[in-house]
Symmetry: C2
Subunit: 156 residues, 2 copies
DNA sequence: GTTCCTGCAAAGGTTTTGCACCATA
DNA sequence: TATGGTGCAAAACCTTTGCAGGAAC
């Protein structure tokens, strides 16, 4: 038995993340008011774990007229600033996770049959990863763990 | 300090893997003699960690006339049979790793600046991963760890 | 001879880029 | 008004699929 638990981003954490994102963007001299802001709001509300197309789709279903390219550009910029982590889970599209101020984050288990992706977190795993010594001259800045298997529905 | 070390597949391990692959394919009723065999040979010699395009390119530079689709089909079949693991490391193309009989495998550290990918293995990390309890009803069959950072060349 | 495998070409899905227009500062 | 951001469209990239010809059993 390990310390694994379902990890969720609370509404409060989401709003704090959005505030930090806005501050970081302003500090870097970026303008506010456009599509990027709505991407930030949506990510904060959803708590991350979205594909680019999810973001675009959900914004459009809210009545926003947002171009796919703008979504990708916003996600790329936020990733560069260290506010998002782009995770290539599964075989298709990448997902974006909030990078929270307290360093708390989660990983993913993917059903290889249906593609369902479920987040989890585990303290012992984090300890093991942080104990890693980087190979020759590398500087480690982030890590990503993906489990593969079958979900309850596909396991029959 | 942890048990991390550079992990390489020895020529002997590679040949054993190729033999196992040929046995598995015959057992499943697949024919031999075509492009798939050369893909197996190349993977065994290279020790894995190749992208589909690498495989196609290297075969062509050996004078083989091989279609990209055949390479992808071979890689997909070998993955289905559990002889390869498809890993989505970095942002672009997937890489394929040999699944060795002794269960030994490695993970990857990626330079987010230049894309260089270096394999590593670590015993303590493996223990931590195997100690994980799967979320509700999931059955874990494989895992994948990717570190992100900067390589010596890009760290300046 | 039948079935599977192959190469080529075309299509599919994801992500990036070019460009003209608009909004922010 | 100068700059950066945006939407749209087209391109680039990785991967899969359709198909006719060829190879293995």
């Amino acid at each position: 038995m390990s310390g694994m638990k379902q990890d969720t981003v609370t509404p409060t954490e989401g709003e704090e993340w959005a505030a930090a994102a806005r501050v970081a963007l302003e500090r870097e001299g970026h303008r506010s008011g456009g599509a990027r802001d709505t991407v930030i709001e949506l990510l904060a509300a959803a708590g991350g774990c979205l594909e680019a197309e999810d973001v675009a789709e959900q914004l459009r279903s809210q009545g926003q007229r947002v171009g796919t390219a703008s979504v990708y550009r916003a996600l790329a910029l936020l990733s560069e600033l260290g506010l998002l982590e782009r995770v290539a889970v599964g075989s298709s599209a990448a997902r974006y996770e909030l990078v929270l101020a307290d360093g708390g984050h989660h990983h993913h288990i993917v059903c290889d049959d249906c593609g369902e992706t479920v987040p989890f977190s585990d303290g012992r795993l984090e300890s093991a990863v942080h104990g890693l010594a980087a190979p020759a001259g590398f500087e480690i800045r982030a890590h990503e763990v993906t489990l593969h298997g079958s979900c309850p529905g596909c396991r029959g």
